[in-house]
Each structure stands twice: as C-alpha cells, then as structure tokens.
C-alpha cells in the first residue's frame, strides 16, 4: 500500500531553509491495515500524516504510494493519486455558511465530474449517502444545518463523515477524536474502524489518547522527537515503552542538531532550564 524509506521531512509551510522535523522514518503499511500514531505533542505526528498525504516532498528518502514513486510522477498523475487518499486535518476546514450536506458531499468530489459537482450545489446529488454517513456519527438530524452553527465536536464528526464518502483507499486522520467526549470518541472510533474495514480502506490515525489507540487499532507507531521509536502490534506496547515515549524531552538533541546544521540554536531561549522544571 505505502512505503517510506529513510525519509527526512520538514514541517509543511517551513521557512526557506527547511529544517527536518522527521528523521530517518521507515514504514510499510499493507492494504486494509489500521494503525495509530501516538507520541508527545510536537513529535511530528501531523508532519508524518502530511508527508503521507503527498502534501510535501521529503527532504531525503523515498515514498512509494500504491507502488508508485510519488515525487517522480507528473503533476496530473500525482493529483489523480491524491484522489486515492483522504487527509482529515485536526480542525475540519469548512467554509463558513456551508451546509452540512454540502460539506459532507465534498468528500465525493474526486469521483465526480465538474458538471455533477456543480449540479450537486443546486440540488444535493446523493442525499441518501450523506445522511447514512452522518448517521454513523449520530448527526443525521443536522443534515441541513450550517456548519458554523455546529459545536466543535459536531464539526469534527462531520469531517469524519466526509471520509466515509471519499473514493479513497487510504485515510489519514489527524487527531480525529480530539474534540469529542469519551463516549462520542469511542463511538466515532468504532465508526471509523468499522467503516474502513467494510470498504477495505487502510487507516492511519494520530491519537493523543493512548487507551483509545490501544483499544481500536491493532498496530501502534510511537513517534518521539521526529523519530519512529517503535512500531509494534498493540499487545507488544508495554507500559515501559509508553513511559519512554512520553518521557520529558532531552533538549541536547535539538542543540546538537542545530550545531551540526549551523542554525543559531535559539541560544538565548532557556531550554535547559525549562527541561529542568519539567523533570
């Protein structure tokens, strides 16, 4: 399905002198796998998802998606490859005043011709599918509401319902449950994993909640300071491993990297002092 080899990557919209936030990532996902990424904030989870979503070329290393070397493709081929994946950003990006039904049906766009897309703005093209997708997240009664009148959690679930309509074979979900209460989160996680299994879709989701990750996802990636700390089936993820993953960061690594690259290592920011407080 997809394969990363020795990939270094910068954050999206990085400065002119991009500075890697992902180091030496090697990863292989087979079709239909369901994988969770966990790790402290700032570990590079979002950057990894964006790298896999073909949002940015890696600084070094190789990325193959569906057997194709992504960044050697022509632009049109790359764009049609993008239609086979679905990236759900953490904050669902809807234009204000759009209706839920339009926001959800936008997931279908890669499969639609321009004519059909425009007709669907005049009269929604696949109402039944939109309602069924929303029903998975208990939102079918909001079908004709405006997205800017929804709560944060409802917006997030509308974003996930969009995934159910996308003609994609890979879902990349960035913190899909971050705005949900525990009960809703469990229901949404269930809907995602079940929906993906039914359609044979590969799922990669970053989660800040470790218990949810372990409960719903059979394979777990631990990302720490831009490196893949572990890649294990869930039963092999021990409390020790988790403790290492979430241990306070060692700033000397950053400083060493900056020295090696000739960056001013934000020298006057009191990093060691901060780390001492965290310990």
């Amino acid at each position: 399905m997809l394969e990363l080899q020795g990939v270094y990557a910068a954050a999206l919209s990085a400065a002119a002198l991009p500075r890697p936030v992902l180091f030496d990532i090697g990863l292989r996902l087979d079709a239909g796998e369901q994988v969770a990424i966990i790790g402290p904030s700032g570990a590079g989870k979002t950057s990894l998802l964006q790298l896999l979503a073909c949002a940015q070329a890696p600084l070094r290393g190789h990325y193959r998606l569906a057997g194709k070397p992504v960044w050697e493709l022509r632009r049109s081929a790359l764009q049609s490859l993008r239609a086979t994946l679905f990236l759900a950003p953490q904050l669902p990006p809807f234009p204000p005043r759009q209706r839920v039904v339009t926001a959800v049906l936008a997931g279908r766009l890669p499969a639609w011709s321009l004519g059909r897309s425009l007709r669907s703005l005049v009269y929604p093209s696949d109402l039944a599918a939109a309602r069924a997708a929303l029903a998975q997240f208990d939102l079918e009664q909001k079908l004709f509401e405006r997205v800017d009148r929804l709560s944060g959690g409802e917006r997030q679930r509308v974003g996930l319902a969009r995934a159910l309509l996308a003609p994609a074979s890979l879902w990349l979900l960035d913190e899909p449950l971050s705005a949900l209460d525990p009960q809703r989160a469990a229901q949404a996680a269930q809907a995602i994993t079940h929906g993906a299994r039914q359609r044979g879709i590969t799922v990669l989701a970053s989660l800040h909640h470790v218990d949810t990750a372990l409960k719903f996802f059979p394979r777990i990636l631990g990302l720490r300071q831009g490196r893949l700390l572990f890649d294990q089936p869930r039963h092999a993820v021990t409390p020790d491993l988790l403790q290492t993953l979430f241990a306070p960061q060692d700033p000397s690594l950053d400083a060493a990297y900056d020295a090696a690259c000739g960056h001013p290592a934000m020298a006057d920011a009191p990093l060691p002092a901060l780390a001492a407080v965290m310990r």
Partner: protein, 279 residues
Amino acid sequence: MSKAYAHPTPALRDPAWPGRAAATMLALLLLWPLGVATEFRPWSLLDARSLAVSARFLADFFPPKLSPDFLALVLRASWRTVAIATAGVSLALGAAIPMALCATRALSISRLAGRMAPLPAALRQGVRALLIVLRSVPELIWALVFVRVVGLGATAGVLAIALTYTGMLGKVYVEVLENQDAEPTQTLLRNGCGRLQAFAYALLPQAAAELGAYTVYRWECALRSSVVLGFVGAGGLGQLLDASMKMFDGAEVCTMLAVFVLLVGLADAASAALRRMLQ
C-alpha cells in the same frame, strides 16, 4: 532575551510610541511638498470672490426643472445610462471571472507541495499583466477610441466600460480569493479535487459576500463612468448633462444630479440586500 528574563515586569512606557511618533512626523514632512506642488490652498475657497461665484452657480440650481417633458427626457437618458453601465459590467464579468480564476494563487495545485511550478507561475503573471494593461488605460480613453471605431452612441460606452472594468474586477477578485482562509480549499485540492471543484465547494462560499458586494459597488462606479463617457458622445445622462452645462441651465443640471443621487442610493441598497442574503 536574557535581560527580559531578569526584568519580567515591563516599564510603564509604551515601547511602540517613539516609532509611531516618528512615522507621523515623516508622513507630515512628505505631505508638505505634495501640498505645495498641487497648489493645495483650501482657504482660497472662502475668500469673497470665490464665495460670490459659487453662490451664483448654486442659486441657478433652484428650483430644479420639473416639467413633464424634461422629466421624461431625463428618465429615458437615465435608463440608457443604467443600461450602458449594466451591459458594460456584465461583459466585464464574463471576462474577469475566468481571468481571476486563472490568475489566483489560491487554486494552484503545484503550490500545494511548496513552490509553484514555472509554467503555471508564468501563466498567472501573464494574466495579471493583461489585467494591469486593461485597467491602466482610463475608460475615457477607451471611449474616445471606440467612438472613432463604432461611431457615437452607447456601444462605445459599453465597450469602454467592459475593458477597464475587466481589469479592475479581475484584479480585486484575485486578491479577494487569495485573502480567504486557504485551508478549506487546500484540503479539497490535497484530496484530489479539481481546481474548479475546490473553487465551488470551498473558496466561493467563503468569498461570495465580498465578491458580490464589490461587484455591485463597481456597477455603481460604472454608472458614474457612463455619465462621464456621455460627455464624449457615448450617450445617456452624460450627454444630456453636457448639453445643459453648456447652456448654463442650472435647473436642469440640478434635476439630473438628483436623479443621479437616487441611482447611487439604489446601488447602495442593492449591495446591502445582497450581503444580507449571503451572510
């Protein structure tokens, strides 16, 4: 930075003040020679001779001429002016919308992964340059050209307005589209949608109210332009106004100006209604 840590409470003095004061002084210093160069002497409006001339001119205005024949004539001419403005702006829209879609960076697919590719960048620059050329020639000049080509009458006015307003509308459309939140549009493009699909489902819903209000405002400007174009023989209220001014008939001028105020007020109400509808 270390000093800031040593003294965490800032002094009770606005650090931005000296810069702001200096900028104001500089602006005044630069304005002074401009005022001299343009012979800007507003007090000369208030000396006795100027006041007498203005008073005589204004006294001519009253009472406005309200005879039924004349009103019918003014009404026909205003209708013609509205028609010239509307036809000109409609033609301009037909050209400005596709050109804005070509020129806006917000719909660039190659820019999703860093820099825009050279060919699309050149196309966008080219369209921008064309828009600059179109709007840098004043409509009055276009009208003088077209009066020679197609003869006296409304057609010259319509074509002149269409060309200049294509430039103005196109430029502002491009900027309005680029000022919107890029996230919804880029998310759709990243998921493999086409540019026009992303435009219809993410960019347009955000920008619709602003684009609509600006277009109505431009229509209002086109009304004014078409009056000016009347002076060079492009028909409508302007031609009538020209004749009355030449005959020093203040009463007729007053009636026509009143009609004109009504037209602009109408445009304002239309714009407000449009924005309310799209909010």
